[in-house]
Amino acid sequence: MSEMEMAESGKTPKLKVATAALCGCFGCHMSLLDIDERILKLVELIEFDRTPLTDIKKVGKCDIGLIEGGVANAENVEVLREFRNNCDILVAVGACAVNGGVPAMRNQFDLKECLEEVYIHGIGVENPQIPNDIEIPLLLDKVHPIHEVVRVDYFLPGCPPSADTFWTFLTDLIAGEAISFPYSLIHYD
């Protein structure tokens, strides 16, 4: 249905939402699913584009892009830029996207030290060698929050943000209202 036909039939077109998990633990996506049966209401208002839930691989033109995780390797940068180019509203979801989170604790060490610790000196490592296959995205020197790489429109803090945070954010945004979180929904852990 074109937008014109939609308008004539009195239906509002569904908002397109894409999500991606960069350097995170997938906890934010799990927390989104914690909205439980409210997801039925949500899918009346939105339609998922690229997300680990649909398994669509390329992001199309979207209204909202939700990014979980920080930026730790070359592929994360590519996906993040693709999202920025295709999403009208880009949202940093969770501590890792907002400030690098737990993965950014590796910034305390040189990348070489990290790789050696895991692949050379790690407990129980056999045939020690640092993986160097062309298929493996190159690691960045440091893990970065996403606002250090692209412009970000909204931030949902929390590790993870609770289901109610997602719900409040999405429903307020879709209704065109200013997003307002009660005290209990603003936390950094």
Binding site: A95, N99, G101, E148, Y154, C159, Y183, I186, H187, D189
Partner: protein
């Protein structure tokens, strides 16, 4: 008519006595002004600037500013909250604040004051400074990552405990907290876990060992009530408590 001296704060008359700072008078009148380096038990330090207010059109540091009549103080507008939030965002990006992995989370004054300004992001580019941990003391662990250089431990160790265990050295971005021992290690100082200085840290830099994550999520100091209601970390600490606090013991006037 009363002859009491007052100034205006957010449209309310706040009584003050000679020698009061704006912070002293406001706190006594039950008005919360966010603060980190200030602890009402001790003389003000004026270093974190989070207590910034607008007085007759100028930004002033309320914990060091003597109260005066004819002051019109803005402590809660969106504009002053924006300034405070920026100061907090700078504090966050200068250190390494991985709250999900911090024992102080939920009972941390830096976090609580940031919640008070509704800070949702760090805004600035992170420094990710390389900083270590000093676990040499048998009862206390020190995290350089989380120290905001408020100077409270330094002042209290010197003035109350009479031990001068801590000192801020260096200048500007190179400022650092150091320990008073030949080795430079905390374990070789005279610090003891019952020293007042061991429990004044507003953040998770000075922590008692073997007590991490003792209080469950949901029951921590700032989990359900904001700092404007609950009060400071230090004020909620008593000798029997762990420095992580326990929200159950506080009544509120909410």
């Amino acid at each position: 008519m009363s002859t009491e001296k007052t100034f205006r704060l957010d449209g309310r008359d706040i009584p003050f006595i000679e020698g009061d700072t704006v912070m002293d008078a406001a706190l006594r009148a039950g008005e919360y002004i966010p603060h980190l380096c200030h602890n009402p038990e001790f003389p003000p330090h004026g270093s974190c600037r989070v207590c910034v207010v607008d007085v007759n059109g100028r930004h002033q540091c309320s914990c060091t500013l003597p109260a005066d009549e004819n002051m019109d103080v803005d402590n809660s507008s969106e504009a002053i909250t924006d300034v405070r939030r920026s100061l907090l965002q700078m504090l966050f990006v200068e250190g390494n604040h991985t709250c999900p992995g911090c024992e102080k989370s939920g009972a941390c004054q830096l976090q609580a004051v940031a919640y008070n300004t509704r800070m949702l992001n760090p805004h600035f580019t992170h420094f990710f400074p390389k900083r270590s941990i000093d676990a040499s003391h048998p009862e206390i662990v020190f995290y350089y990552n989380r120290c905001i250089l408020c100077g409270l431990c330094e002042r209290v160790s010197r003035d109350i405990d009479k031990k001068s265990v801590f000192a801020i050295t260096g200048r500007g971005i190179n400022s650092k907290l150091e320990f008073n021992s030949l080795s430079g290690k905390l374990g070789d100082t005279e610090l003891s876990a019952d020293d007042k200085a061991a429990s004044v840290c507003p953040v998770g830099a000075i922590l008692p060992k073997y007590k991490g994550f003792e209080v469950p999520i949901g029951e921590r100091l700032y989990d359900t009530k904001p700092i404007s209601v609950v009060g400071d970390v230090a004020a909620n600490h008593s000798a029997e408590d762990s420095v992580l606090g326990n929200a159950d013991e506080y009544s509120s006037d909410e």
